[in-house]
Amino acid sequence: MSTSVDERVELAGIPLRNAVLTASGTFGYGTEFAPFLDLEKIGGFVAKSLTLEPRFGNPPPRIGETPAGMLNAISIENVGVKVFLEEKLPALPEGVVVIASAFGTEPAVYAELAARVSEHPRISGIEINASCPHVKAGGIEFGQDPALLGELVRTVRAVAKKPLLVKLSPNVTRIADMARVCEAEGADGISLINAVQAMEVDVETRRPVLSNILGGLSGPAIRPIALRMVWQAAQAVKIPVCGVGGIASAEDAVKFLLCGASAIQVGTANYLDPSAAERIARGIAEYAERHGFARVADLTGALETG
C-alpha cells in the first residue's frame, strides 16, 4: 500500500527520504542487506562504529539472549576508517544516505576520524559513539560525564565539516543534562539510546554468558527506557533528536516520533527481520495517513499530555 503522505524528514540538517535509519553496529556496512530490502527505500543508515585502525573485538561468546532482549559485547570490531572509505562506501548504491559513526579513546582520535570521514562526498553526517571509556579519565565513558562529553563534542565540532550527531549512553542519572551539553557545544542533533549496560549468567556453567562479563542490552526490552529518555531529551533541547532502542514495528517507531524524535533508528530488529526497516518506514506512512497527518514530520512531538 502506498500513501499520499509526505515521508521526508530532516535530521540535524540531513534531508532524509523517510524517518527510518538503521542503527550503528546492526546494519554492517549496508550492502549486507541488499538481498532483503531496497536500501533506497529507507532514510539511510549509520555504519558500524569506526576506529582509526582496523580492530578486532572481544573473544567469544559475544552475544546472549534475554527476555525480549539481547546482550552483546562485540567491542567495536571494524574494518578501520581507511577500508571503510575506500572499499565499503563505493560498494553502496548512489542514493543511499550514509552516516559514519566514530569511536575513540581520546577526543583527538574522534576528531581525526571526523575530519577524515568529513572529506568523503558519500558521507551525509557523523555520529559520535560516546559510549567509549575515556582512557585518561580512568575508564568512565565520555557519555557518562557532562564535562568529558562537552570536551569531546567541542573537539569534534571544531573539525567536523558534516552534520554532527552525538549518540548518548543511557547509563546515566540525568539524560537531559547530557543532551544539553551536546546542544551547548554545537552538536547538530543527538541519537539515543545506546545499549543499556547489563549482564547475564549461565546457571549450568555458573559463568557469565559473555566473555567480557558485562555487555549491552538491546531489543524490545529496553524500548520503554529509550522512549522515556528520548522524551526527556526532547523536552530539554531544541536540536533534533533521533530515537533508538527496541524499535521493531511501525507503531514502536511512531511512539518515538510522538515523544519528540525527528527520525528513528532500527537496531536489533534488523536481525529478527532483515527487511524490518523498510517495513517500518511503510508502516509509519500508513499510520500518518490513517491518523490524518499529511507529513510524517508532523508526528514529531505530537504526543498529547494535557
Partner: protein, 291 residues
C-alpha cells in the same frame, strides 16, 4: 576466507521467507522438520538457515527474541500442489530439543508458518584439498552435526570419488537420520558409545583406520560437538590429510552484521562463522579459543 573462492560453488543469494510446516516428526531422540519454502533458491551442502524460535502467531512475541541457526539437512525439491503462483521448494531440518527455541520449534504444527532467512554461510567445497579429487572423502558426523553432512554425502556420492560416512552417537536412539544416509548408497559406518548399534566406541576409531589406509590422500569433513571435531582434526593432521569442520557459535543475524559469531583464528584475530564459515579448514581455527 575460510575456503578458497574457487573450491566452493558460488552460493545463492539469501532470501527472507515465511516457511510452511509440512511435517515435524520425531525420529529417535531427535526431530525432523519438513518445510515448504516459497521461492527457495536451493542451497549448497553445509549451508544453514536462521529460523524463528517457533511457529508464527498473529501476535509478534519477543520472548524468545532471536532466530536460531539450523543447517539445511535435506533438499527435497519442488512442492507438488504449492499455493498458486509462488514456487515452493521443500527442505528438511534435523534438530534436537536442547532449550527454549528448539522446544518451541518442536511444538510447530503442520500448516503453521515459521519465518526464516537463508541459505546462509559458505558450504563445503565438494572438491577440496590438494589431492582431493583422487583421495577418499571421509565424512564424520556427531550428534546433530549429522544434519550438515547429508547433502554433502549425496553430492560426493554422485562423483567417482571414494566416500565413507561415519556417524557417531551415544546410543542407537541418537542416530537420527541414519536411515536417510543408508538410502544414499554410500558406505556408512556407525559408532555408538553403548554399542547399541554399529561399532562400540567413538567415531575416531574407524576414522583412524581410514586415515591410515588413505596415506595422507583423504579429506575429512567433520561436523559435531567441538571436542569431536578437534579430535578428528588432530587425527587428520597427524596422518597428513586435510580436515574441514563446521562450527556452531551463537548467532544473532546469520549474515555477517552483528559480529556476534566470531571464532578465533589460528593466526590471530577472528572469523565470522556465519559468513566466512560455518565451514573452515580445521587448521585455520584456534581450537583453544573456542568457548
Amino acid at each position: 576466507m575460510a575456503v578458497t573462492e574457487t573450491s566452493v560453488p558460488s552460493p545463492h543469494a539469501a532470501i527472507r521467507s515465511q516457511a510452511r510446516v509440512l511435517e515435524n516428526r520425531v525420529e529417535g531422540s531427535g526431530r525432523i522438520l519438513t518445510l515448504a519454502v516459497p521461492n527457495w533458491p536451493g542451497s549448497i551442502p553445509g549451508q544453514f538457515l536462521m529460523i524463528g524460535a517457533g511457529a508464527e502467531s498473529e501476535v509478534v512475541r519477543h520472548d524468545p527474541l532471536l532466530p536460531r541457526p539450523m543447517a539445511v539437512y535435506r533438499e527435497l525439491g519442488p512442492v507438488k500442489g504449492a499455493a498458486s503462483g509462488l514456487s515452493e521448494r521443500s527442505i528438511e531440518l534435523l534438530y534436537r530439543v536442547v532449550g527454549r527455541g528448539t522446544t518451541l520449534l518442536s511444538e510447530a504444527e503442520p500448516g503453521e508458518s515459521i519465518s526464516m532467512v537463508g541459505p546462509l554461510g559458505r558450504g563445503f567445497p565438494v572438491d577440496s584439498g590438494a589431492n582431493a579429487s583422487s583421495g577418499p572423502a571421509i565424512l564424520v558426523g556427531g550428534g546433530t552435526g549429522i544434519a550438515s553432512l547429508f547433502e554433502l554425502a549425496k553430492a560426493l556420492g554422485e562423483t567417482d570419488r571414494e566416500v565413507v560416512v561415519i556417524l557417531g552417537a551415544r546410543s542407537a536412539l541418537d542416530l537420527t537420520g541414519k536411515d536417510d544416509f543408508s538410502a544414499l548408497g554410500v558406505e556408512l559406518v556407525c559408532t555408538t558409545e553403548d554399542g547399541s548399534v554399529g561399532l562400540a566406541g567413538r567415531v575416531t576409531d574407524p576414522l583412524l583406520a581410514r586415515l591410515e589406509a588413505a596415506q595422507g590422500r583423504a579429506t575429512v569433513f567433520a561436523v559435531g560437538p567441538t571436542p569431536m571435531m578437534k579430535a578428528c582434526a588432530e587425527l587428520a593432521a597427524r596422518h597428513g590429510s586435510d580436515c574441514l569442520v563446521s562450527l556452531e557459535n551463537p548467532m544473532a543475524c546469520g549474515f555477517g552484521v552483528c559480529l556476534g559469531c566470531a571464532a578465533p583464528r589460528a593466526e590471530g584475530g577472528f572469523s565470522l562463522v556465519c559468513k566466512e564459515g560455518p565451514v573452515f579448514e580445521a587448521r585455520e581455527i584456534d581450537w583453544e579459543g573456542l568457548p
